[in-house]
Subunit: 223 residues, 2 copies
Amino acid sequence: MPRRTNTRERLIETAAGLFWRQGYAQTGVNEIMQQAQTTSGSFYHFFPAKQDLLLAVVDHVGELLEAEVFAAAADRSDDPLEQVFAVIDASRRHLESNDFNLGSPLGALAAELSASHPEVRERIAGLFDAWTDRVGALLEAAGSRLPPEIDRRALARFILAVVEGAILEARVSRDLTPFDAAVAELRRHLALLAPGVQPAAARSAQPRPTPRPQPRAADWRAW
Amino acid sequence: MPRRTNTRERLIETAAGLFWRQGYAQTGVNEIMQQAQTTSGSFYHFFPAKQDLLLAVVDHVGELLEAEVFAAAADRSDDPLEQVFAVIDASRRHLESNDFNLGSPLGALAAELSASHPEVRERIAGLFDAWTDRVGALLEAAGSRLPPEIDRRALARFILAVVEGAILEARVSRDLTPFDAAVAELRRHLALLAPGVQPAAARSAQPRPTPRPQPRAADWRAW
């Protein structure tokens, strides 16, 4: 693995912003170099081809998910089920802070590149799996609050589908209402599965926990 | 509105296939003209700019949704809730028939173009609304099988989120398992909301109603 340097990180963060804003195909290497204020020598030293940078961007999202989304969710609540909703709330804040111009960092690239870039698709599938494992573990930690016959991993996959779909609906309508409605219905689902799970919250359309300052929030928001 | 001709339809169907396979930005007007075997005179007669063709493609999806997905679902079952699952099953068959290379006709364009093409975004939002209205009406038709306090339209939006997210997961993993798991969980949700709704089906991971021949299935499958 190449050593991390400021230039490499700057290229990754710049590319991430451009890929999410305008798509991978629409973003040229020159545009990335200009915006990251680097030379082509530096660029090709770190990334022999544009796709190498794309793979690094996907890995970077994985790191951010861990460092900012899951770690921050753990800071916000000791309750594993509330941590799941704190993870979901990170997507809501992300939509809000970029004025709906950017959706799911993985979802948008997956939609654009799944058919044409198998290696990228596999890397994104790996991150979806990691997300599912993390949320599945939180559902596991909820123990007897969910019925024993419920497959936690399948439920986590369902939650990922709800979140990715809700992000898409919010982007398209430029409105958080469908996102909040989907999350409220998901809360209702968990409440129906396990009546002990915050039934009051399940009826609230807009759960809004207080955001806490995050170490590298600027990166995440920039997308 | 321009009169429909074979050339116009061929351009729309060709462009639809290319946009979904490789994205809007990646598809050039020349490529569309070549594949549709038409001249630039014909092309620009019908579509002064590439975006005009894109808008026609989005409208075309709306027509197909009505003609092939909702009408076919109505043919498959008299039960409004089963019609909802027949609509969802159309997406499953679509993923299967194109070997996961194409996802949601609207979702993929929405992800690529929401930020950069406001007019396209609005048109897609209109189709999402139409889908939600249609599914909401089916949920309404379920009458007392769903509890009266459930907002049918909000539930329809939730279902749309589940389906769009499940399509994305299936595409990325090239596997129908996450799609089927999400649909099974959705069935469980409806069953929990209204215990009268097919509890047996709620436990089946792969509901597979027999497909019936569809009038223009070739178009839909081609995407």
